[in-house]
């Protein structure tokens, strides 16, 4: 049995998640982690040599990146729960708190950073894709972050 096959059983089959990414040549991952109070899934500075995994080895960051995938924080196939995690993260876990959003906007403007988000869902054949709560999209657009969906079925 190849090691590639054995790794397929290492995680439960999460079929929905969301991602949030900040990027830019002057991005400081430590500063974003300080603001968001959560460790990124992956992060690197521009030109930094970072460990991309046992198979991929070390790669060099072409631009600064702070990347979070919610499947490392939320174990659910419900996309709404993953979006809720992201929106609460952006608002310091209190939806009416604008301080964290202001801090992020300030850093983004100062360091010329941009942000984007993505929504992933994988369904069974014939299954209807989930609807996206408009308030979650509003929160991401307010960052501002571009949002892309990646919905597909078997």
């Amino acid at each position: 049995m190849s090691s590639a096959t054995s790794t397929t059983k290492s995680k439960p089959p999460v079929r929905a998640f969301a991602t949030l990414r900040f990027y830019g040549d002057r991005l400081d991952p430590v500063r974003l982690t300080e603001i968001l109070k959560v460790s990124p899934t992956k992060a690197w500075r521009k030109g930094e040599r970072y460990f991309a995994g046992p198979r991929a080895g070390y790669l060099v960051g072409r631009t600064g990146t702070w990347f979070l995938a919610t499947d490392t924080h939320v174990e659910s196939a419900d996309l709404a729960l993953h979006l809720d995690f992201l929106t609460r993260l952006l608002s310091h876990w209190t939806l009416d708190d604008k301080k964290r959003l202001s801090q992020l906007r300030e850093v983004m403007a100062r360091d010329g950073l941009k942000a984007d988000a993505s929504l992933f869902w994988h369904g069974q054949p014939g299954e209807t894709p989930p609807s996206v709560p408009p308030q979650a999209l509003e929160r991401l657009h307010a960052l501002p972050a571009k949002v892309e969906t990646d919905f597909d079925t078997d």
Partner: protein, 69 residues
Amino acid sequence: MASVIWSNPGNPTNEVSRALGIERYQLRQALHHIKRAQGLGGADSVIVLSDGEVRDRHGNVLGNVYDEI
């Protein structure tokens, strides 16, 4: 030597996941992680090799499918 098993935009087919010995949702999940972390969207083409390595259209290594599952 690893061979190219996918070099298109969008989501790979079942044949690609079968060639890697994983489920299609696992391949989609892994490619989504790799592409989004590197700033590529769904419409951007990537090259997947038979050893799981993922490259952009210029040949730059972006990651490996097996590191993401």
